[in-house]
Symmetry: C2
């Protein structure tokens, strides 16, 4: 019996260890990440790796996009001189972050006018969904940041000309590409917590 | 030895069952949900519960929001007559979905003009971030839908006046509230799959 008891204990320990390892290696659930995402405005000096940046941008490019146009474009900035220009007089977190991602969008695309013959020339046509697509990509990006244990903050660029002009210039964006928002990111330096924004009074049923 | 072997087998089976249960009860990871989210345009008749709608809207209201304004407003539509108007000539999925959520936003807010004395009257001021906030809320909502095993499709309303006017009218929206997008949802009737939209050529480093 003694031997059996010992063997059972060993089996139980091995089992517990296996389960614990399984649980430790499982990633946080989607709903937890959505509810725990918060704006992080101060970062440690620990670098963000290229692999992390790619995971974050894969998430961004998995966003929905009107007519499958995928108008989003991303500029990943680590160059301090560029970050300083992006930071501008609003200062701080953009200059301090190890990585800044500028989400941009193509505001137009080329297509034949509706109803025109098949050999008609394509003309530049505004894309009414470019801001929606860039915003959805940005939210995915922020959730991926949170899932990886990093922190970030969405700072608006569009539609504010005083922020868009220097961003366009320092990044050298083409004419049909507009900056949308600027997202500094890194490992959180503080202990920022998510805000509770749940308000049932913001919900209406069937009519306002 | 025979008894010990049997006991070991029992222990192993108990362990495997415990681990399997643990894994089965764990929700899908955030990155998996982000990568697996797809547009679902046909739904079964299985109802979406009020508890599911609340989980989805909790996720929506956890989105980032400029200056913490939380301009998002949600109209949850189950009334077939209202759904038929929302569907309009674009038809199908909005009329057919068991639940449709119309994401709306307050386009302005009341505040004292910058630099005005503290007792100055608040004036109506446009909110430059309302579309970004509504889009981020919509993306969270879509990810919660995916996490719950439901399916949905983001259909644009803003900035298209021919879609916004009937939506405003049938919902009876206040003047300072604009419809943003219309999201039909339900249990997927088909086997829609996510699109692979990963394009490294959409990424630039430091400059365009």
């Amino acid at each position: 019996m003694k031997l059996i008891a010992k063997l059972s204990m060993v089996a139980a320990l091995v089992c517990a260890a296996a389960c614990a390892q399984n649980s430790a290696s499982s990633e946080p659930s989607a709903l937890d990440v959505i509810m725990n995402r918060k704006s992080v405005r101060a970062y440690t000096e620990e670098p963000v790796t290229q692999a992390q940046v790619e995971t974050i941008l894969k998430a961004a490019m998995a966003a929905p996009t009107g007519m499958n146009m995928q108008p989003w474009r991303f500029v990943v900035v680590r160059d301090q001189a560029v970050k300083d220009v992006l930071a501008g007089p609003r200062g701080g977190m953009i200059a301090q972050a190890p990585v800044v991602i500028v989400v941009c969008g193509e505001t137009s695309f080329m297509r034949r006018p509706f109803g025109a013959p098949e050999d008609a020339e394509a003309v530049e046509t505004p894309n009414g969904n470019w801001t929606a697509d860039c915003a959805a990509a940005t939210e995915n990006l922020l959730l991926a940041v949170e899932a990886l244990g990093l922190g970030a903050c969405w700072t608006a660029c569009y539609p504010y000309e005083d922020r868009m002009t220097p961003t366009r210039e320092v990044l050298g964006l083409p004419d049909n590409v507009s900056p949308y928002c600027i997202v500094p990111m890194g490992y959180p330096a503080g202990d920022d917590q998510p805000k509770d924004k749940w308000k049932p009074e913001n919900i209406h049923y069937d009519k306002w």
